[in-house]
């Protein structure tokens, strides 16, 4: 009996061994050890002793946590919904075009998404360079005084958010276009026969039918931007990183700069839980909103 079971199951089990080995080593084990580490006073490398919840207690008295939380939330507000809106507008504009022109325009909008983040950083750092950047020339032309964008706390987050929207818009655009193509042409033809205006067609047909895709884009972007690090870190070098810090950057600083492994793990656990809770809540909210749309 055991022999027979072994005989019929060895092949599927063999197929999932690579997955189990990889995810066990670099996913499940690190997740568990992150929780364990957060209850110790260990440095980044080396052992520590169990300190209970004191890492968490210290964390909640650390003013940097509030700054990092606020900056992360601020970045999310600045990038998620505006980013989706921009992508939707572009998608509607691109959808009108056809053939090679559509493919070419689509490729132009998509191209920034393909570029590594450090290249995005170098290019925009150059464009907004206080002394020589082309952006500053334009400010001069408009008669607006120049600003050292990435060294000013007020301008830092909005600028990084705009650059992020520019960078990642291609992805949302692609998803929106796929969603728009999935709406059958007959529905638009029927609406045209019903004498619906453009705006009515969008409000009553495109928008409700596109809602699941919009929800998808918002979910993906929200979860992605909660974990923001790369751009913020890169643009803040030479700026004021302590004031523009975001959550992952906080983990990075605590662990790799201050060498507090245990305390950094406590921050990591906090972000871990925030992301999971936000994901679940947003999922539910969007489902409810989607249900309301259908009525």
């Amino acid at each position: 009996m055991i022999g027979k079971a072994f005989k019929s199951y060895w092949f599927p089990l063999l197929l999932i061994v690579p997955f189990l080995a990889i995810y066990g080593l670099i996913f499940i084990y690190p997740t568990i050890s992150m929780f364990v580490l957060s209850f110790t006073d260990a440095p980044l490398i080396g052992s520590g002793s169990f300190v209970g919840l004191s890492n968490y207690a210290r964390l909640f008295h650390d003013p940097r946590l509030l700054v990092a939380l606020w900056n992360t939330a601020y970045f999310v507000i600045l990038s998620v919904i505006p980013g989706a809106a921009v992508a939707l507008l572009i998608a509607l504009a691109v959808q009108r075009l056809s053939g090679r022109l559509q493919a070419a325009v689509m490729a132009l909008f998509f191209l920034p998404f393909i570029v590594p983040v450090s290249v995005v950083y170098l290019i925009w750092d150059w464009i907004l360079n206080y002394q020589f950047g082309i952006g500053m020339h334009w400010l001069d032309a408009l008669g607006i005084p120049r600003v050292p964008v990435f060294k000013t706390v007020t301008w830092f987050m909005p600028a990084v958010a705009v650059i992020t929207i520019w960078w990642t818009c291609g992805f949302s655009l692609l998803v929106f276009l796929a969603g728009l193509r999935a709406i059958p042409a007959e529905i638009y033809e029927a609406a045209a026969l019903d004498n619906a205006s453009r705006w009515t067609t969008f409000r009553r047909i495109t928008w409700p039918l596109l809602w699941p895709v919009t929800a998808l884009v918002l979910t993906i972007q929200l979860i992605l931007q909660l974990k923001i690090f790369d751009q913020v870190y890169l643009f803040s070098t030479g700026g004021r990183p302590n004031d523009t810090i975001v959550m992952v950057q906080y983990i990075f600083q605590m662990a790799f700069v201050d060498d507090h492994g245990g305390r950094a793990a406590a921050v990591a656990v906090t972000l871990f839980l925030i992301v999971i809770v936000v994901t679940l809540v947003e999922f539910q909210l969007l489902r409810l909103a989607g249900g309301g749309q259908k009525k």
Partner: protein
């Protein structure tokens, strides 16, 4: 007499022109980065806008390639991206096939586990990835660079959905043809998905090439960095020469941009699939 039809036509033409203009403006930063890297350093810092260099020069590329470790970084990036792509595609295809087509105890739990992986933010695992790699003495090695970047649950799900979509008659026909389980997978199902495998491999390669956070942490020496990390981390490699830094940036982006331009259809297909939409 201008009828309503003409007005609509005119409006459509205007809208199309506007869309094209915005698209051109959208890539202008990339254009500007490239064009600046082709100007002599003194032209670059001129206080007015020149959309085309007066003197076209490739000197910055020459010095970026010769006076920095970028050659070494290229090799590191290539090894990392190829390694991650090969391992991810291989293990995901096997796992997706098993979950979709085969029956074994715990199959449902495995599927749920993979879906749960989507929710977990891998960025929070950087500390423990670092500790683990340090313990395994893998920091500053290709393997240490590769391992923590292997978490792409979405690839498994795409493969599962693909195999779900294959009519079950192929499996049955192969069974009638006396094929072993291995041959059913290797000769019947695997060759059927070369198209999707190519698309996914290109996209995983691009994602890995572009990845910043883990390579940034895992390489603590200049020699072991990847291109995207190296060009931002080693300032004295390019000094304050803006054009030379931009030349390095262009070199960093070039492989993935070329991949995209050559395989546009596959890249858009794979990315649409990765968002959870049937392509």
């Amino acid at each position: 007499m201008i009828g309503r039809f003409q007005i609509t036509r005119l409006g459509a033409g205007l809208l199309t022109s506007l869309t094209v203009l915005i698209a051109l403006a959208w890539v202008f930063p990339l254009y500007w980065g490239v064009i600046s890297s082709l100007k002599p350093e003194d032209e670059v810092v001129r206080p007015y806008i020149e959309l085309w260099p007066q003197t076209l020069t490739f000197d910055h590329y020459y010095s970026a390639l010769t006076k920095s470790l970028i050659g070494l970084w290229y090799i590191n990036s290539l090894a990392t991206a190829v390694g991650v792509t090969a391992i991810t595609i291989f293990s995901s295809m096997l796992c997706g096939y098993a979950i979709s087509q085969l029956n074994f105890p715990g199959r449902r739990y495995l599927h749920i586990l993979i879906l749960a992986c989507f929710m977990v933010p891998t960025q929070t695992l950087i500390i423990n990835h670092f500790v683990l790699m340090a313990h395994m003495h893998l920091l500053n090695t290709w393997l240490g660079m590769i391992l923590p970047q292997l978490i792409y649950p979405v690839i498994i799900i795409i493969y599962k959905q693909f195999f779900d979509g294959v009519p079950k008659e192929f499996r049955e026909a192969a069974l009638m043809d006396n094929a072993s389980e291995w041959r059913i997978f290797y000769r019947v199902y695997m060759p059927m998905n070369w198209g999707i495998t190519t698309a996914l491999a290109i996209v995983v390669f691009i994602w890995t090439w572009n990845n910043f956070l883990w390579p940034f942490l895992a390489a603590t020496q200049n020699e072991t960095m990847t291109v995207p990390v190296g060009i931002t981390q080693v300032y004295n490699a390019f000094g304050v020469y803006y054009a030379r830094r931009l030349a390095a940036a262009v070199l960093a982006a070039l492989p993935v941009v070329l991949l995209y331009l050559f395989f546009q259809r596959q890249v858009t297909q794979a990315i649409t699939l990765s968002a959870g939409i049937k392509g």
